[in-house]
């Protein structure tokens, strides 16, 4: 009989959950720091082309985006359109857009402002060239063609 009594004698103590909030808070802070809210909702479809020679885009706060691609909603047509911030725009709106992007930055950072062109791969170069010409005229020389990384097949 003694055998059976022994069995119930030592119950394993329950795992302490008092440190659970701390663990969760740690995770929470991690995601809070790494999160970047999507600033604008996309109105155009963008499938970036792939390339092998890509570089990371550093200092995200110094990057302004120009989206070019066919509209998601079909009633706007299938031809590629330019999106600045949250609305469709034309090439003529770009200087104003860049100007406002510059205003939003520190004096010292303005030179480092990069324009990232997020362009759908089916887009014709005509639109892109027009955008580039506008950027040249306003002096936004640093650009970045947004591409996905393709693994080199060698």
């Amino acid at each position: 009989m003694a055998k059976f009594k022994k069995k119930g004698g030592k119950a394993t103590p329950g795992i302490s959950t008092s440190s659970l909030p701390d663990i969760i808070f740690m995770l929470l802070f991690f995601f809070m720091v790494t999160t970047t809210m999507r600033e604008s909702t996309l109105l155009v479809q963008i499938k970036p082309p792939q390339a092998t020679e890509v570089q990371k885009l550093e200092k995200k706060s110094l990057v302004s985006f120009i989206f070019i691609g066919p509209p998601l909603k079909k009633q706007f047509g299938t031809e590629s359109r330019i999106q600045l911030n949250d609305s469709f725009a034309t090439v003529k709106d770009i200087p104003e857009f860049i100007e406002s992007e510059r205003e939003a930055r520190d004096e010292a950072d303005r030179k480092l402002l990069t324009t990232s062109l997020k362009v759908d791969k089916e887009t014709k170069m005509g639109v892109v060239t027009d955008v580039k010409q506008q950027l040249r005229e306003i002096g936004a020389f640093k650009i970045n063609y947004s591409t996905a990384k393709k693994l080199a097949n060698k």
Partner: protein
């Protein structure tokens, strides 16, 4: 005697934290933006005349409306482009101001780069990239990618020769600058035009 204050129940703290955690988990975007960085040239002055460039110093790359490639007036394929650009821009003897007949000339001025062993004469070769308004962006990026790859490989070779590692592995800013000066990104994009073609 003061009333005994009840302790706040901290049991729901975890739930609150979980809720916030899930919110940030959903809204977070971890993807890093990648791309090919380029610098646009400043707009040309209005009264600028055409600059004459010797034919041997230019590699003409043309992309037609229907995404076909032409290199120095001969039809070509993207897969060959990297090799051709490398051969064109390769600067075998960087200390020699005279280049072989079949290569582009050296720049008129040398740069003093002690890290690369004194005076360096970079190649004067320029890749002239021209595309039609109807060229697809995908094709354009493929071409740009090949050009970037060619220059990267040339820089790798030079870095290997002098510092025994690849260009990307360099950490010393002076070395990076020296290599960049010895092999500049010599891509010139023509003013856009309708070149047509099929």
């Amino acid at each position: 005697m003061a009333k005994k204050v009840n302790e706040i129940n901290a049991g729901s703290m975890a739930d609150i934290a979980f809720l916030l955690l899930i919110f940030f988990l959903v809204t977070t975007t971890m993807d890093v933006d990648t791309g090919i960085s380029r610098k646009l040239p400043p707009p040309p002055p209005k009264d600028q005349e055409d600059i004459k460039v010797k034919e041997r110093n230019v590699l003409k790359v043309l992309v037609s409306k229907s995404d076909r490639l032409m290199v120095n007036n001969k039809p070509d394929d993207v897969s060959n482009l990297r090799y051709e650009v490398k051969e064109f821009l390769r600067n075998t003897d960087i200390h020699n101001p005279i280049s072989p007949e079949d290569k582009p000339e050296k720049k008129k001025k040398s740069i003093n780069l002690p890290l690369l062993g004194g005076e360096v004469w970079p190649s004067n070769g320029v890749i002239s990239l021209k595309n039609d308004r109807g060229t697809s962006y995908d094709m354009y990026i493929q071409v740009q990618n090949e050009l970037a790859a060619a220059i990267r490989e040339l820089r790798d070779e030079l870095t290997q020769q002098y510092f025994g590692m690849r260009f990307k592995q360099l950490t010393d800013n002076n070395k990076i600058k020296a290599i960049q000066k010895a092999i500049p990104i010599a891509i010139s994009e023509a003013e856009p035009a309708e070149i047509g073609g099929n």
